[in-house]
Amino acid sequence: MVERIVTKRFDNVNAHELAEYEATGGYQALRKALNMTPTQVHDEVKAASLLGRGGAGFPAGVKWGFCPPNKWPRYLVVNGDESEPGTYKDRQLLERDPHMIIEGCLLACYAVGLTQCFLYIRGEMAHAQERVAKALNDAYAAGYVGKNVLGTDFSVDIVLHWGAGAYIVGEETALIESLEGNRGMPRLKPPFFPAAVGLYGQPTIVNNVETLANLPWIIDNGADAFAAMGAENSKGTRVFAVSGHVNNPGVFEVEFGVTTFRDIIEKPEYAGGVRDGKKLKAFIPGGASAIWFFDEHLDLPLEKAAIDQAGSMLGSGAIVVMDEDTDMVRAAHNIVRFFARESCGKCTPCREGTTWLERILSRIIAGHGRPSDLSLLTEVCDNISPGMAWPPRMTTICPLGPSAVSPIASVIERFRNEFDEYITLSDRSLIEVTAAGGGA
């Protein structure tokens, strides 16, 4: 088993306390970094080739360099609005090791010269909010955060912001809108990146929680040690949340790009195989937005490029396993319903289309399906995401709408027989007889 970087304190139930964190090497990376120049810290992160862990997988060190020169102030925003169904790695990190995230924020701010950081935590994660709030207060009191950190010239403020409960706020521009006090709706692009125009119109770096969690280890152990782990284009480790029909669901840190789906689903130290010895029917490789994978994809490595090539995405690191008993129509409906509920309502195709999809699927499940429904589902999907291709083409501003297309695109061809069963069972004569019988 590979060395754990971000989950190394998960077995220690007191790791969220400052004393325990300090006793297990906490804030040593900060002390070390403060004796380096910011550029050295930045270079170290660049050399580690740390990819963003939020979904898009962009190198963090490079992203930090994207702010236009001479435009100040700029901000660090930590995206802790983890809401993708099946994803719960950031929540675990925030709950179990909040000081590590704070230390990560401090290192990022020091490297890029920022003095203001906003930590945005999803509204529903009450326990994580409490833990982080306590940790932040303790860190302020201990002089790790605030004015003149550890007696140096480096000053930084970290503001904890609790979300109001919208999935779309995981989209970085919507998160910035929400942070500004507006309705969480994605911004128009261009400008494409908050690094150019972000929070309060200023250059803003938005990083995922797990991305920042890697920083203390990288500074402690050096970029070379980090880059020694993982595959050629996926350095270090990565945390995956495995859920669904497995024996041992949970959060697992694995070597990035080397471990395969088969490893993480079947190995006893990870998810431990499909529940009750059943056969695997399908699995979602990277959160609810991803196109589903099947048996033939099990030996793909958990690596961005390979999965992109196979037609899906690694996304937020959520693997959802479905066994052979799973009703694929209901499974697709479950996910479509999530996106329909979470659509912000801005773009017509997403607002109207996702709900329409959900209602057609509900109707099919309720026994009122019609043979034409399958082509209608495909047509509606096509209006949200032309061609239903991967990566999706969009008629919307953000990818939420096209995400709702993924489950339908995944199952409508491969499991057409399951739809047909529902639709055949909804024989009109049967329904009418029932209705007439009820009336008589």
Partner: protein
């Protein structure tokens, strides 16, 4: 080697020169902008222009719902998706969010585009109730129209549609049907971005998203009617028009609304009844917006209380009143004969004739009455303002700015004596836009915060009475101590801002009724002493700027010339000119009160309500031997004192022209016939002249317009034909084109300091609101309820010191009188100031005004 190219060069040069000489006139200049391809045609467009607009410039309409050229694009509806290739292959892009770039290839008719349009329309329609047959928007509905042009033939949606409670009122006049709403964000963006009243918003999310107000907090905006006009479906409807007509039954004409902004409007009517005004997007003026007071004011002209026949006190047709107490219906010939007889008797002594009002007339009506009074009867007792404005000779001496100059990017605007949001709605919208989007610095010097305070780069509180001294200190950079409420630091900051500015526009309102006009003049004087300054008058009454331009003021002749300077010029053109400078309204009323006025003509004027001193107004009206009123309604003054009443035509019932505050003359057009025998004002003047045996020399409104252009050098370009052709009107400007000399600004020197305050007193400020108890507001059923009851507004700390809260009854006492009324606690009012809006029910503060003092101080006692 070096020779050969040289020879070539020489040859080429010679050849080029020849070609240039011969063919240059035929070679078209390269069009501005960069080339883009729209549906296979190469056109030129300015880089940075929105693609949707560039396509429209090229004659290709891209369907849209959310995009509005006067608001920030949001890209919500996705209707304007087109296939665009910027070098990376064609992709669907919203043309309302994409700006033009060199070499862009756009296809608005490709298969992919058409499929996207089909898809978006089908999706928009799945939840849209198809209640078009009972929807007011049916027939003029962008959703309906674009579904016909671009949409699928039928829907495949068989589920139940989304349901909401059918129309809910979001304010007194606007209803919202959320089932019809397609969530385009136009109304909500308008409220937030344009009007600055973010009181409607999206709530809930996804498919349950709806537009609504905050609980218990209505969309109380002065501009709510605009949301109805820009709604692309029938979700927002306005009470005054609901279920009144179908669009295909309406006929329309473009005209100018008679407010001081000269907002461009479309008047729509059916069966000779005006049913709706719509704003016209005029770049120069109102950008398509209208204030609700103006938009819904057509109700007042349609009011059954309108005068439809001449009235004569005592005599008349049908049932004469022998006691002579009542106004009784009469005929035009009888009424005009009576007026003519009185004028004929009075004209031996022209100064016994007075004319008050005229600011609500068209230019033609104003000129006709000016010519009748000054050029035929020879009296100079003519004043369109009722002692509540700015002296006309002062305004005429100032360089006039245009709205565009005031709003030019990076400029500086000083606002004194007005709250544009309350007085000139569309000027407020233009200034707000300029401050937010064009980096225009607003510096306001007012006794209360205004609607623009949040956008102002400096919002200084000035105690009534101190304005002249403060303005002088700001312009000169006085380092003295604070002046009243205005701190030394504020004065220094404003001075620095003014010094840093190049061209400055000063917007001058009429100020508080309780302040002497001389104080406003002092402030104007202070700013006028600066170089590179222009002025924009914010007098609000209708066509008051036309009235001043056309000589409806003592000492003035048409064309902004003085009586003295213009006498010889007009002696050639008019039968006579006044022998001496006449009285303004105050002096006329005073003369009438002492029996020196034989005939007093009220041209759409109500001195009892509008003149600052109601007692003098009453005495003057009572003392005039004969009062002739030309009006739409029997207002208070008319009802109580007029001996002869002549019914006039209102907006939409007459044609001619209108002058706005920047001197823009635009066309006023007739849509419906006036009620009964009411007629245009110029016609009434001509008929009075005819009964006097005189001929004013014109028989149609266009003849009057052309005579104005012929006799007034200022109006030389504003011929009837030119006004008819100019969509944005004809700007008179300041340039003299010969003719008599014009007013020249004369520095009056430094103003005198204001009188000190007694520690316990409040300084009275009588300001104006959009909805007051004016005749036009009260006679429009949809507007009348919006006029709040009268109250005295006090700063919270003052209210606290007095021990009063909202609604507490207080007695206000000045040296002159006492009145009682309720308190409203308002943090926007400066400390030590008691602000009372003019002309609201239950509290007439004019009684308190000490007319000879520059300001009025009052005591406040709790009851």
């Amino acid at each position: 080697m070096s020779d050969a190219p040289k020879t070539d060069d020489t040859d080429v040069t010679v050849a080029d020169a020849e070609v240039t000489e011969i063919e240059a006139p035929e070679v078209p200049a390269p069009p501005p902008g960069v080339p883009i391809t729209v549906n296979g045609e190469t056109v030129h467009a300015t880089p940075g222009r929105m693609l949707i607009d560039a396509c429209e410039d090229a004659g290709v309409y891209v369907p849209r719902f959310c995009y509005h050229p006067r608001m920030t694009p949001v890209g919500m509806c996705r209707m304007c998706l087109v296939e665009v290739d910027t070098g990376r292959g064609p992709a669907l892009q919203p043309s309302c969010m994409l700006t033009v770039s060199d070499g862009m290839i756009v296809d608005t008719e490709s298969e992919a585009t058409k499929k996207a349009q089909d898809g978006v329309l089908e999706l928009l329609l799945i939840n849209h109730p198809l209640d078009c047959p009972v929807c007011d928007k049916g027939g003029e509905c962008p959703l309906q129209d674009q579904t016909m042009s671009y949409g699928p033939g039928e829907s495949r949606f068989i589920e139940e549609k989304r349901h909401f409670e059918k129309p809910i009122p979001i304010n007194d006049n606007v209803f919202l049907d959320r089932e019809r709403c397609i969530l385009c964000d136009r109304c909500t963006r308008f409220a937030q971005e344009v009007a600055g009243d973010p009181l409607i918003h999206f709530i809930d999310r996804g498919n349950n998203t709806q537009v609504n107000t905050f609980p218990d907090d209505p969309f109380s905006s002065h501009f709510s009617g605009n949301t109805v006009q820009i709604c692309p479906v029938g979700a927002l409807t306005a009470k005054p028009y609901r279920f009144k007509a179908r669009p295909w039954d309406l006929t329309e004409i473009e005209s100018t609304y008679p407010n001081a902004m000269g907002d461009r409007i479309t008047i729509q009517s059916s069966r000779n009844e005006v049913l709706r005004y719509l704003g016209v997007d005029s770049d120069a003026v109102n950008w398509g917006w209208l204030a609700d007071r103006d938009r819904f004011s057509f109700e007042s002209t349609m009011n059954e209380a309108r005068l439809t026949a001449p009235l004569v006190r005592g005599g008349g047709l049908g049932a004469p009143d022998p006691a002579g107490a009542e106004l009784v219906g009469s005929t035009w010939s009888a009424a005009l004969a009576q007026v003519a007889a009185a004028l004929d008797a009075a004209r031996v002594n022209p100064s016994s004739i007075g004319v008050i009002g005229g600011a609500r007339l068209t230019n033609e009506g104003q000129y006709a009455w000016a010519k009748l009074a000054k050029g035929v009867l020879g009296t100079d007792n003519v004043d369109a303002q009722l002692g509540d404005g700015i002296p006309a000779d002062v305004l005429c001496a100032l360089p006039r700015a245009t709205i565009a100059e005031a709003c030019a990017p990076g400029g500086t605007v000083v606002i004194i004596g007005t709250d544009p949001k309350e007085e000139l709605g569309t000027l407020y919208l233009r200034l707000r836009h300029a401050a937010i989007h064009d980096d225009v610095k607003l510096i306001e010097l007012t006794a209360t915060e205004t609607g623009l305070s949040r956008q102002a780069s400096m919002s200084l509180r000035v105690r009534p009475g101190d304005l002249g001294v403060v303005a002088d200190a700001i312009v000169r950079g006085d380092e003295t101590a604070e002046i009243g409420l205005t701190s030394t630091a504020d004065i220094a900051a404003a001075h620095a801002a003014l010094n840093a500015a190049d061209q400055v526009t000063v917007i001058v309102g009429s100020g508080s009724l309780a302040e002497h006009t001389a104080l406003t003049v002092e402030a104007i004087n202070a700013f006028a002493s600066r170089s590179k300054v222009k002025f924009l008058s914010a007098l609000r009454r209708g066509n008051v700027h036309g009235a001043i331009d056309l000589g409806l003021a003592p000492g003035l002749l048409p064309g902004r010339t003085s009586l003295e300077a213009g006498r010889s010029w007009f002696n050639d053109k008019w039968p006579t000119t006044p022998a001496e400078t006449g009285h303004d309204t105050a002096a006329m009323l005073a003369a009438a009160a002492t029996g020196k006025i034989d005939v007093l003509v009220l041209l759409g004027a109500d001195p009892l309500i509008d003149f600052p001193d109601p007692e003098l107004a009453r005495a003057g009206l009572a003392g005039a031997r004969m009062v002739v009123a030309v009006d739409l309604f029997a207002n208070d003054s008319v009802y109580a004192f007029a001996d002869v009443v002549l019914p006039a035509a209102a907006c939409g019932e007459k044609s001619g022209s209108h002058t706005n505050l920047e001197g823009r003359v635009s066309a006023v057009r007739q849509k419906v016939t006036p009620p009964g025998t009411a007629r245009a004002d110029w016609m009434i003047a001509a008929e009075v002249a005819m009964h006097l045996g005189e001929d004013l020399g014109f028989e149609s409104s266009t003849e009057v317009t052309d005579e104005i252009a012929a006799v007034s050098p200022l109006h030389a370009h504003a011929t009837a034909a030119a006004i008819e052709d100019a969509a944005d009107g004809v700007l008179l400007g300041n340039a003299s084109t010969g003719g008599p000399a014009r007013f020249v600004w004369q520095d009056l020197g430094a103003p005198s300091p204001a009188t000190p305050l007694d520690r316990y007193s409040f300084r009275l400020c009588i300001d104006r609101t959009m909805y007051d108890h004016g005749t036009l507001t009260l006679s429009a059923p949809s507007l009348a309820p919006l006029a709040a009851p009268g109250s005295v507004r006090l700063h919270p700390s003052d209210a606290n010191a007095l021990g009063v809260v909202d609604g507490s009854a207080v007695r206000l006492s000045s040296k002159r009188a006492s009145v009682e009324g309720p308190v409203v606690v308002d943090a926007r009012v400066a400390r030590g100031v008691a602000a009372i809006a003019h002309n609201h029910a239950g509290l007439d503060a004019r009684a308190l005004i000490e007319l000879d003092a520059p300001v009025t101080d009052i005591r406040i006692e709790t009851l």
